[in-house]
Symmetry: C2
Subunit: 228 residues, 2 copies
């Protein structure tokens, strides 16, 4: 069970991002991490190099490591890539899903709605991401699964920056209808629903007012809609 310290750090950072505990732009100091996971700085450095290679973290020379803050253009590229990957995943998942898979996905949806209702945003984000990754697992292509893992991570950061403040970012029942199509084995519909789902998610973004977190100003003065 005990991974190498490097893997532990990478996993912890990714988990934290997936639950929006680490916002875009957050600094990942070497000392801080080596204290936290008590290991030496060499391991921390390797972990950060890994995260940087996955484009989840940015290394600025002589400055340190920071969680990336995706630009609007990058956000667009990421959604385009997600559609390409997830359409393919959907097509292959359609023929592969067992009844346990379907049951597991439905349980996931129940938990997700519960989290949404109770206002537990971190849990909601984690579960939503888990839903998409579970589908990728059913498709059975490790390469697509890993690419999607990276993109869902970056999507979480995008949502943290550009999500429209008001409504929640997923139509209530889209995941439900996706599982319906999966259970029915209707590949074409599954593909279409997946595509639509991602388009809706993207349509819910607002690039006008990025919530520049990890900026003291916002954390002290609040994020009220008034101009500075």
């Amino acid at each position: 069970m005990s991974d190498s310290p490097e893997d532990t750090i990478v996993a912890a950072v990714l988990d934290a991002i997936a639950e929006q505990r680490l916002p875009a732009g957050a600094k990942l100091g070497e000392q801080t991490l080596s204290d936290l996971f008590d290991c030496n700085r060499a391991n921390v450095r390797r972990a950060l190099a890994s995260l940087a290679a996955q484009h989840v973290v940015e290394l600025r020379p002589n400055r340190g490591a920071f969680v990336i803050t995706p630009s609007p253009k990058e956000a667009q590229d990421i959604f385009q890539a997600r559609r390409a990957l997830e359409r393919t995943i959907a097509r292959h998942a359609a023929g592969n899903a067992s009844s346990e898979d379907v049951a597991c996905l439905r349980r996931n949806i129940v938990e997700e709605t519960r989290a949404r209702r109770s206002g537990d945003k971190p849990a909601e984000l984690r579960l939503s991401r888990q839903f998409h990754m579970y589908l990728a697992g059913i498709a059975g292509n490790k390469v697509l699964e890993r690419f999607l893992s990276e993109l869902t991570m970056r999507t979480t950061l995008i949502l943290g920056l550009y999500a429209r403040s008001g409504g929640s970012h997923c139509a209530e029942d889209e995941h439900d209808r996706i599982v319906d199509a999966l259970e029915a084995g209707d590949a074409e519909q599954l593909v279409e629903l997946t595509d639509e789902h991602l388009r809706h998610l993207e349509a819910g973004l607002n690039f006008r007012s990025p919530k520049s977190s990890s900026n003291l100003r916002d954390q002290l003065l609040g994020t009220a809609g008034i101009r500075p």
Copy 2:
């Protein structure tokens, strides 16, 4: 022009793989690399961590870093993923290509056939890969571009392991016809030609007799088709 030593090493390793100078399974010793690029081992280690995160290199604890040797299943996953990515790339490239792009691609094809005719395999592989990456550049999606870059790299390793010994692995004129469709702006045909092209490439593989290079036996006794 002078990158960090880490980037230099990463680029050099990737170039070497792209030209099949580094075969699957090759060992990348820390000392060797730090001597070669004269830098300290810390930089080498970070470079190897990056390459490992890209799944181009495998880190075995206490053993060192080795170029990955893709399994048949991985090869299949990689080609499936490539089709998903390159179909999308093709669709978006169709509308974006300038006449300079077309000219540049045609020049690339000329060089490629010349390399094939003269039996310069490293150049042929590099140019073929360059062709696909150039198309990705036209599509203008950095995320897809990076993913494809990783997969073409791994494809080169796959070809080194499983390419049918006889014929060359690309139908002579497929790249030509792809550029024709691109020039005509015919997105649908471009997508179909790209898909076919990748299927032909995959069909040219033979998983029965992997050329287990970086194995002294083969390098000394040759790769004659006789059973050991």
